[in-house]
């Protein structure tokens, strides 16, 4: 059963057009021109309860705007939206009780108070039964290793500690759905792994639906099977990570270190991706040409010292999609 249903979601912001320079700034005090900016153009997707989906896109693609609409703090310009059967912006309070939110860049903890007091406050806000609260606290404190700094004021916590606190805070009331907006940003590898572990636990053991927005695709690779790619306010891919990898993973790169520099270098069947001094990167379609055949073609023409083959990682796949757009069945298309 779908727990989140978005159809034709659209959000247009009206903003002040700013003229450059001091003169422009002064003019803007008196005469104002407005420009419409389409943040989300047309987004539709449906999420089943218990899914964990990566919501991916470049900066300014409309990710945060979508999340804000899902949490009920932004009213869509057009389209329909249901979150756990509720229209978020029409019933902000009821929706708020169903969701948990974590922003990597913004804490919802109370700055001047010890971490423990923020949890107490959230217990009161969400009306969590005392027994359940203690149970969750014990569980989270264990997994996230909170005990050490529960009595420390939030402003004195390190980023990693604060994020762990934020995660516990967002999950304290057993929300049906959690929205995670760049939750691992700025964290070191160990803290990142602790957070990923926690997200995975919440999703698997508690069946919480998770929408994860991130620029760190390692988060997605580690956690989700499904990703929704969004660019310029529209969904450009919605499906499994594996399919994306298959479709875009048809090309490998042969990295060749040449014995001398050849000014004009060309190998049939391969595309020159880049070159740096005597190191060249040759991209080839593994279904048309075996690595062995390509190496042979290279050695027939040039003196080489070393070769290596690289598989495309998810980062480079997504980078390519950002640059070129997603094409269904890119597999067959000649590049």
């Amino acid at each position: 059963m779908a727990i989140i249903e978005a159809v034709g979601l659209r959000k247009v912001f009206r903003s002040l057009e700013r003229q450059p320079g001091l003169g422009g700034a002064v003019r803007a005090l008196f005469s104002r021109t407005f420009v419409d900016k389409v943040a989300v153009d047309d987004v539709s997707f449906s999420l089943d309860a218990g899914e964990l989906v990566g919501y991916i896109g470049p900066n300014g693609a409309g990710k945060s705007t979508t999340i804000k609409m899902l949490t009920g703090i932004l009213v869509p310009t057009a389209g329909t939206l249901h979150v756990a059967g509720i229209v978020p912006y029409q019933n902000r309070m009821a929706n708020a009780a169903n969701i948990g939110v974590v922003f990597g860049q913004r804490s919802q903890l109370y700055w001047d108070l010890p971490l423990r007091e923020s949890f107490e406050l959230l217990r009161a806000i969400y009306d969590v039964p005392r027994a359940r609260y203690l149970e969750n606290m014990k569980h989270f404190a264990e997994i996230l290793d909170l005990e050490r700094f529960l009595s420390t004021p939030v402003r004195q916590l390190s980023l990693g500690e604060r994020m762990r606190g934020d995660f516990a805070a967002a999950m304290l009331h057993d929300p049906k759905i959690v929205f995670l907006d760049e939750p691992t940003i700025g964290l070191d590898v160990i803290a990142k792994e602790a957070i990923r572990e926690f997200i995975s636990m919440v999703n698997k053991e508690r069946g919480t639906t998770v929408i994860l927005t991130t620029h760190d695709l390692a988060d997605v690779e580690r956690l989700s099977r499904r990703i929704i790619l969004i660019d310029e306010g529209t969904v450009i891919y919605d499906g499994s990570l594996e399919r994306l990898r298959e479709e875009y993973g048809t090309h490998r790169t042969l990295v060749v270190t040449l014995a001398e520099s050849y000014p004009e270098l060309a190998v049939p069947g391969a595309e020159l991706e880049s070159r740096d001094h005597n190191t060249v990167r040759l991209r080839f379609d593994r279904r048309r040409l075996t690595a062995e055949a390509l190496i042979r073609r290279v050695t027939e023409r040039y003196q080489i010292i070393d070769v290596a083959i690289t598989e495309p990682d998810i980062d480079s796949i997504v980078r390519r999609i950002y640059l070129e757009g997603y094409h269904e069945g890119v597999v067959g298309a000649p590049s």
Binding site: K68, A94, L113
Partner: protein, 267 residues
């Protein structure tokens, strides 16, 4: 669908605000010390002024010293911008996370501000005791004293509305520093905290009493020192209530428009 209303979170907000204020201990001590310094300085100023001029008939020297000392003690509560949190949240964008919680946001701001104010109100007692070492304060009869406290409460609400309106402006401008300076200056002058409005020239008095700022300090203080006589109590409190209604209405409209702007424009 709407979750049932519970007081508990707001009581907690209030308690947490008090706890938060208590963490800034240095601030507590300096605010008490600053009141005492100002009590002393104002006493010197009034004594000097009264020695060189004819005293106004309604405010003899002991009355004006009582007036300014009580005003400074009231200031411990009244001079707090209880809704500054709203400005800060609009500035940092933190207001968004509050809207993502199942709480009534303005009520949260009121609870938080009140917690802050209650904490500072507690400081009035030690400040008063210490002030008594410096000056003598007249104590009026029980009816006057009770009316004074009621009027002080109403004055607090007038101040709350003015601060709330001011901080709501940040929904549109983000920055309110200059406006705040102007309002502070006008309040200082026309609120009656420093100079009793009754010793203003006639024309300026008319202006001052027509403004809502007089309802903050001047009304309770003039009741305290007996310039406003018991037969005029009802009218004085009524005028304060009138300002609460008017300013409360403006505050509500501004909040609604501002909150709508957040949900439509994304803050």
């Amino acid at each position: 669908m709407r979750p049932r209303f519970r007081f508990e979170p707001y009581v907690q907000f209030m308690q947490k605000a008090m706890a938060r204020e208590a963490t800034y201990r240095f601030d507590v001590f300096t605010s008490v010390a600053s009141v005492l310094v100002r009590v002393y300085l104002l006493r010197m100023v009034w004594v000097a002024l009264y020695a060189r001029n004819a005293a106004p008939s309604e405010l003899p020297l002991h009355a004006i010293i009582t007036y300014s000392t009580v005003a400074l003690l009231m200031g411990l509560v009244m001079d707090i911008d209880q809704t500054r949190l709203l400005y800060e949240k609009l500035h940092t964008g933190g207001i968004a996370t509050d809207f993502m919680k199942p709480i009534i946001v303005p009520l949260y701001l009121f609870a938080d501000g009140s917690g802050e104010v209650i904490f500072h109100a507690v400081l009035i007692v030690p400040s008063l005791l210490l002030a008594l070492l410096i000056v003598h304060i007249d104590v009026p009869g029980p009816l006057t004293l009770a009316t004074f406290f009621l009027s002080f409460g109403l004055g607090y609400l007038v101040g709350f509305c003015i601060n709330f309106i001011l901080n709501c402006v940040a929904f549109w401008t983000l920055e309110i520093h200059a406006m705040q300076l102007i309002v502070t200056w006008v309040t200082d002058l026309f609120g009656g905290e420093i100079i009793p409005l009754v010793i203003f020239p006639a024309f300026l008095q008319k202006v001052a009493f027509a403004l809502p700022f007089a309802a903050m300090f001047s009304t309770p203080l003039l009741i305290y020192v007996g310039v406003i006589k018991p037969e005029r109590y009802a009218a004085a409190l009524g005028l304060q209530a009138f300002w609460i209604v008017v300013l409360g209405l403006i505050a509500t409209l501004m909040w609604r428009a501002g909150a709508k702007r957040v949900v439509v424009q994304g803050g």
